[in-house]
């Protein structure tokens, strides 16, 4: 450490409307992507607008990388245009009377005339061929990519994204997600990403904050948070484990890759493009896609069978379900969702050694 202040975002956000109150206290990492996840009405966009200063509410305290943006106890409120952040709106909000190039220049000119290399960013987002066009002539996905570039060219020290993919259809989402993934990997600044799509969160986030009715339900690194057994079922899809590894080998006849991770290897179907050995991959295994056996099955279609030890058995919020926390021999943790009847029939209890079966086709790449 060189003594520089730890880059971090500290935010105490509160807001009262009729029938709704928001009260959250967040400490977010100063790098990487933090997803604010919640259903509509959970207050996630309000959080973002309070951080931006687009909404003002008393009692808010906000510190971004050592700079105080709002502290009502000391009468500090930095106006929106003096806060160095970028904001990507759900509907892109490109200026219709300006060309794409002029849109991109708008923030750059005002905030950071020479700070960012436009060329690299324009290439990364694949919008070079659009510069002379008007926003009205762009597709939804193109607009969103321009909006992201416009926000970043203003050299923000924090990027706020408000459901940037929510207004797009599935095909457009699939088109823009890879750009966002590449972008998030290269960004040096923290990103706060509001979403109600578990899929986007899985692909982009490093840190996850779950919001419900204006309160924080869970908050922590993505892998830890989604594998928690105590979250209400169905709130964030299903309890899952996240495995990050790289493709160690690839069977092109069956389109199956071997994903090597700290706890061993998983055989998973990798669609086109997966043939690159060494490609880093993040996969998710939902608890409902893991089954347990006491003896290792031999004649089975299941591709992945891991030796694990039961760590805990937790009642699920779904009646008749239990969640079984598992530790593989390499130390990796898994969770299985099974019926309580199966649990009793197998006599599962902490310390018992069992086999975890993971269907290869159920792994979400």
């Amino acid at each position: 450490m060189n003594g520089a202040p730890q880059s971090v975002i500290r935010a105490r956000l509160c807001r009262e409307y009729a029938g709704f109150s928001l009260d959250v206290d967040l400490t977010l990492p100063g790098r990487g992507v933090t997803a604010l996840f919640g259903h509509s009405g959970s207050g996630k966009t309000t959080c973002l607008r309070l951080i931006a200063g687009l909404e003002r509410s008393s009692g808010v305290r906000l510190e971004v990388n050592g700079e105080i943006w709002q502290d009502d106890s000391r009468g500090i409120f930095v106006p929106v245009h003096r806060r160095a952040f970028g904001y990507v709106f759900q509907d892109a909000a490109l200026f219709p009377h300006l060309t794409v190039a002029q849109n991109l220049a708008y923030g750059k000119k005002r905030r950071a005339p020479d700070a960012v290399d436009d060329g690299a960013l324009v290439a990364l987002l694949g919008i070079g061929h659009l510069l002379a066009r008007r926003p009205q002539t762009l597709s939804g996905g193109e607009r969103q990519r321009v909006a992201v570039a416009r926000a970043l060219l203003a050299a923000p020290r924090l990027l706020l994204m408000d459901e940037p993919l929510a207004a797009l259809d599935l095909a457009r989402k699939a088109e823009i997600l890879p750009y966002l993934e590449r972008l998030c990997d290269t960004l040096e600044i923290p990103v706060i990403y509001v979403s109600h799509s578990p899929e986007e969160v899985m692909r982009l986030a490093d840190h996850l904050v779950l919001l419900e009715s204006g309160r924080v339900v869970a908050d922590g690194p993505l892998a830890d948070t989604i594998s928690r057994l105590d979250l209400p079922a169905g709130f964030f899809d299903d309890t899952s484990v996240l495995i990050e590894g790289e493709i160690a080998s690839y069977d092109s006849e069956y389109h199956l890759g071997a994903l090597r991770f700290s706890g061993g290897e998983l055989s998973i179907p990798v669609p086109d493009g997966g043939s690159q050995i060494g490609r880093k991959l993040r996969v998710r295994i939902k608890a409902g896609d893991i089954s347990l056996t006491l003896e290792r099955a031999t004649a089975t279609s299941i591709s992945n069978i891991l030796a694990v030890t039961v760590a805990e058995v937790v009642q699920s919020s779904v009646p008749g379900h239990v969640l079984v926390g598992l530790v593989a021999d390499g130390g990796s943790r898994f969770a299985a969702r099974i019926t309580r009847r199966s649990c009793e029939r197998l006599g599962l209890c902490p310390g018992l050694r069992v086999w975890a079966q993971i269907k290869a086709v159920a792994v979400v790449v």
Binding site: V80, H81, A93, F95, H97, G107, R110, A151
Partner: protein, 222 residues
């Protein structure tokens, strides 16, 4: 065309232009405040501004006469302190047309501002633009067609102003006679042919102004 008809036409175009130009800046400012801000007394100001549209123009003229006349609170000040006389001069014609055009312009301009997506203004702020910067680079360019259309409408209204003008400016030949007053005067004098010429000129000017306004509004919709 006889000299006095040419003079009346040019004089009318002059006062209507000046009257509607004078309305632009304060009208746009008020329209923006009505469209974008909440403030105490807003409803009252809205009503006051709309009043000239609904009360008889002669009544508006009378109110202006009481305010700007020699013994009126504003007129007295202007004459005694500034040495400017308004009533029964060409300035009274400009004042009357401006006051009558003001509500029309404010209404059109307000709609034009309201049609600008507030999220675009927010986006500009997040990109480092201060309030004035946002107004001049985002709000104004996006509202400009509506504002111009409102200006043309105000101009067309000013061309035909009669009631308030005759009350405040009288009918002084060569000094305060506009097309509308001229038509009335010519008919009174039995010079119907001259009145018809003035009528044709009025129709032509009003037609041109409204047509221009329609074109601008249509382009805005497109």
């Amino acid at each position: 065309m006889p000299d006095d008809i040419l003079h009346i036409t040019l004089f009318t175009l002059g006062v209507a232009s000046l009257g509607s130009v004078l309305v632009l800046a304060p009208g746009a400012a008020l329209a923006w405040l009505l469209a974008r801000r909440k403030w105490p007394g807003k409803a009252l100001v809205e009503t006051l501004v709309a009043l000239p549209l609904v009360i008889p123009p002669v009544a508006t003229g009378l109110i202006l006469l009481k305010l700007f006349g020699r013994r009126g609170p504003i007129g007295g000040f202007m004459e005694n302190v500034l040495g400017v006389e308004i009533v029964f001069t060409w300035k009274a014609v400009v004042l009357a047309t401006a006051v009558m055009s003001f509500p029309l312009f404010v209404r059109t301009a307000r709609v034009a501002f309201e049609e600008v997506d507030v999220r675009l203004e927010h986006a500009a702020r997040t990109l480092g633009a201060g309030p004035w910067d946002v107004f001049f680079t985002i709000t104004l360019p996006l509202a400009v067609r509506g504002l111009v259309a409102g200006g043309v409408l105000a101009f067309a209204r000013a061309l035909g102003e009669f009631g308030a003008t005759i009350m405040l400016a009288g009918m002084i030949p060569g000094e305060t006679i506009t097309l509308a007053l001229g038509i009335y005067q010519k008919v009174q004098l039995g010079q119907d042919d001259d009145a018809l010429v003035l009528l044709s000129v009025s129709i032509a000017l009003a037609f041109a102004a409204l047509w221009l306004s329609e074109c601008l509004v249509k382009r805005r919709m497109a």
